[in-house]
């Protein structure tokens, strides 16, 4: 049996349950909740950037553009956050987003 954890979104007091093997964003959407913005749902676009302020989670593959190496602990894309305990989460601020932009040069090319 998969354990479920309680996810609380600080900004709006919304909370919902999320199984350990489901992304926080996907669980929110499936239960008809609206709190975190929904984009690609696959760790690429950065729209669902959050800061996990309490609790433990496992992270799936996330774009380094939005969550660069050496990120402030807890900065993550909600669609790739798999809760291991109850979590408290706040939406990314402009400052969080600014930070993530500066740290990551456009790593393209690869001819």
């Amino acid at each position: 049996m998969t354990s479920h954890h309680r996810i609380e979104i600080e900004n709006c007091g919304t909370h919902f349950r999320c199984p350990e093997n489901e992304g926080v964003l996907q669980a929110m959407e499936r239960q008809g909740r609206r709190a975190i913005p929904v984009g690609c749902r696959n760790g690429g676009c950065g729209l669902c950037l959050v800061l996990v302020t309490a609790g433990d989670f496992k992270a799936g593959p996330m774009s380094r553009r939005h969550v660069p190496c050496g990120e402030p602990a807890g900065l993550a894309l909600a669609c790739r956050v798999y809760p291991q305990t109850d979590l408290r989460v706040r939406l990314a601020t402009d400052e969080d987003r600014q930070w993530s932009k500066q740290q990551c040069p456009a790593g393209r090319d690869g001819r």
Binding site: N42, R108, G110
Partner: protein
Amino acid sequence: MAISGVLRPGYVQVRVLDMKAALEHYRDRIGLDVVATGNDGRVFLKAYDEFDHHSVILREADEPGMDFLAFKVASEGELDVLHEKLLNAGVAVEEIPPGDMPAVGRRLTFIAPTGHRFELFATIGLDPTGPMVNNPELWHAEPRGMRALRFDHCLLYGDDIDGAKALFNDILGFSTTEQVVAPDGTVIATFLSCSTKAHDLALVRHDEKGKLHHISFLLESWNDIGHAADIMSRYEMSVDIGPTRHGITRGQTIYFFDPSGNRNEVFSGGYTFYPDHPVRTWSTDSVGKAIFYYERALNDRFMTVVT
């Protein structure tokens, strides 16, 4: 107008976060065939109705998006002509010798004013699994997944779309088929064709350079669009919007995301374009209908999510 000059989109190189998940998506769901894997881990794929060796290249990286989009040119001679024209227009062109990419001859590469890297090539090997030519059957083996016929086009987001549009139209011989224009005359979006397709490349104005909005695959019919939708639900794929129809191009469509968050489209229909046709113009107050003809409204995600 193609026939001479630029023929069509050739191949696109896409960055993916996890190759295993990407292969499941592009090979098993969309239905492309893997034709080769490079020493560097890049995987080359093609759709069953394409002759050329590959049309999609997947590269594992820590950030998704598009590395480059290449157009096939009718001949090596035409490639020289375009090279000359680009240089005369002050575009910095790098020539990559043959053999640098499996099956592909020499390539010209340049950065467009939108920050995207484009390539031109004339020579590419044929893959034996391409369409039959003697008393041809429909296919070698029945197509898989969404049954994508071919890689169709890309929509790219970037800042200087006026500059990129001028480059494609004036130097490379594309035509504008449709556009979205703001009241002050600013072109918000432009749709370009080098063939009789309603678009081979689309550009949308955006404050950041070099972003990918979507990579599109051609399906045969509206029925196949429905079949693709069935697959998306069955495998819990991340859907953006659709099935629906565009006002622009009049194509039938679904937008969805690959496992790295790159947007894909399956597309069918659309009108036939000839270069003597007038440009179709949409005003920004009708842009909802222009993009999604049935919903008559844009969804926020469609406008803002790019990789």
